[in-house]
Symmetry: C2
Subunit: 349 residues, 2 copies
């Protein structure tokens, strides 16, 4: 059914004719076509909550950049909202929660979300699948429970997330109660995404890197493992990616989990990561700032990266989302560099 | 001459009766006594630039917290200022440079600072040494050239420092020209700090963790090595500490340099770091958020850390600066936990 299933084969460690490529935040502000759609609505949330528009901007980078996958246009903060904690997206500043989690009563008042609570995302997935008509796979996603807790407690982005981290130290039991609720909500939500048509699921642990290793294992990696296991029980053929930014210390934990793909940020050394994650496909890990360089440098660095990862078990991507002021011409050039590069093993397929 | 030289002996890997302890940002907003002095002046910079007041707040944590070292109250941004790029410190927001580095002309206009350009810091060091009267050693410090460049190009703090990182990709030769000037200025400055009485020098690479490993080696670790070598040639008996936050991937590079002590943030695993830094003393790496916990937890975690680091070649500290809203009672409790803990090897001295 899929005309291009490179992403799914690479995720499963199967041979491919070339390395698949997509980019985190490929649907978004770097594209003038996105900004035009964004200007037609009142705000970011309206775009996320309007399936026809979400589908439109999801497909834009497939048309414009030629990437090997679409990722549904949404936000990790739809989960806390479905659990009863509304967020606002403030232009130039990021998310803001008018009410945050501080006490046992706050945690008790939060409900476990069901898949149908996020009907607008499921509709956007169905619509996107129809409109993609099998051109490339569609990636569904959610935030890791720790990252979601961090926002629910802190109330907004932060350099240190010291309020959220304080909560883990002062309220460990309550933290786990909340993490269990987020985990259950996320499992319900991701199962529904798969049922709606998502071909691969990615978990984003954006704030993994601010926890000490032991605390990360207890308060984050554990719940990621539960989610991977639940998704595998629900749909064994759907690959699952874990991308925990900054959690270089947890790669071996992820390798021991039931996920298929592990995302690497640009701090992580490729050879070391390969050793620590045997049997898993890797994704990443180009510095998003490379795309500010001239095309000669972009090509050189892209090829160096492709050679280092090898011909199998690799999905090309950045080590984090595209920065909004990146020139789309350079983004497309990077995508083309990956698509034009052939390992010897590729040519034999 | 020093009544308490635990820090210096530990830095050199010599046996000590107990583990020495001090805390990054121990002189500062956590102490009401500091806030009182701070309120008596017009701003942070006046405090930094007034030797009598800088000395006073430098000594406060020695009296109030009982730490084993003082660290001169100053800022890493005095170096760009001495090179011709003035900074402002904006309350609640952090540093701001009205003019930033963008072009070759900007780099050419920047001068190499001499030690005497920062006379007010040298006077503060001399005054502090006199007033400490040998109670504990005094730590001098500077920023790593990469971190200083990051501020000079970006102009202010940033989550991504994408403007500074773009500069490395688009202007690599100019970046090196600037880094050489910063390195020379820093060497002049730190030699003068040693001559003024600093007993140990620490280099802070606050933004180490946002560079890919290969880029970090070229644009940062290289210059840190030059500084360590120059200081060792100037004063072989003065220990040098390198603390590069987030640069877990560079520990082996630091181990191969002439520094004596390597600082660890709270992401870095103790056993792994020991293996990668054989022959060097380590410093850190408690999560600053631990000090929000109850005292039972603080003691448990502090002792776990002390056991993991062992009895020699270790200086207890946090993995980053104290957060300003930490309760000074908990800070003192943590310091006392370290001071009261004895490894078996300690009791035999």
């Amino acid at each position: 059914m899929l005309q291009n299933d490179l992403l799914l084969r690479a995720a499963k460690g199967e041979p491919t004719e070339r390395t698949p490529v997509w980019l985190m935040r490929q649907a978004g502000r770097i594209l003038p076509e996105y900004r035009q759609v964004r200007a037609s609505v009142s705000g970011f949330k309206e775009l996320v909550e309007t399936p026809a528009l979400a589908a439109e901007v999801t497909i834009q980078p497939v048309d414009l950049l030629g990437v090997d996958a679409a990722i549904i246009f949404s936000d990790i903060l739809v989960i806390p909202e479905a659990m009863g904690l509304t967020y606002e997206m403030i232009e130039q500043r990021g998310p803001h929660f008018p009410k945050t989690i501080e006490s046992k009563a706050d945690v008790d008042a939060i409900r476990v979300a069901q898949g149908h609570d996020l009907d607008y995302v499921l509709k956007a997935i169905q619509l996107t699948k129809t409109q993609l008509a099998g051109r490339v796979p569609l990636i569904g996603f959610a935030g890791a429970p720790w990252t979601i807790l961090a926002y629910m407690v802190e109330g907004h982005g932060s350099k240190t997330f010291s309020k959220a981290r304080r909560f883990l130290y002062t309220e460990p039991a309550l933290s786990h109660t909340l993490l269990v609720k987020i985990t259950e909500s996320t499992i319900n939500y991701l199962k529904a995404q798969i049922d709606a048509g998502a071909d691969l699921i990615q978990l984003f642990d954006s704030w993994a890197g601010i926890l000490p290793p032991a605390q990360y294992r207890t308060f984050s990696a554990h719940y990621l493992r539960l989610i991977c296991d639940a998704l595998k029980a629900h749909a064994p053929h759907i690959p699952v990616t874990v991308f925990a930014k900054g959690a270089f210390f947890a790669l071996e934990d992820f390798a021991a989990s039931s996920c298929d793909v592990i995302g690497l940020d640009w701090n992580m050394d490729i050879a070391t990561s390969r050793l620590q994650t045997k049997g898993k496909t890797l994704q990443g890990n180009m510095d998003p700032c490379l795309l500010y360089a001239n095309q000669e440098t972009i090509q050189e660095e892209a090829e160096k990266m492709l050679r280092a990862f090898g011909s199998k078990g690799y999905i090309a991507n950045l080590g984090h989302g595209l920065y909004p002021d990146t020139d789309p011409k350079n983004v497309k050039f990077f995508v083309d560099c990956v698509k034009n590069f052939k390992h010897e093993a590729h040519t034999q397929i």
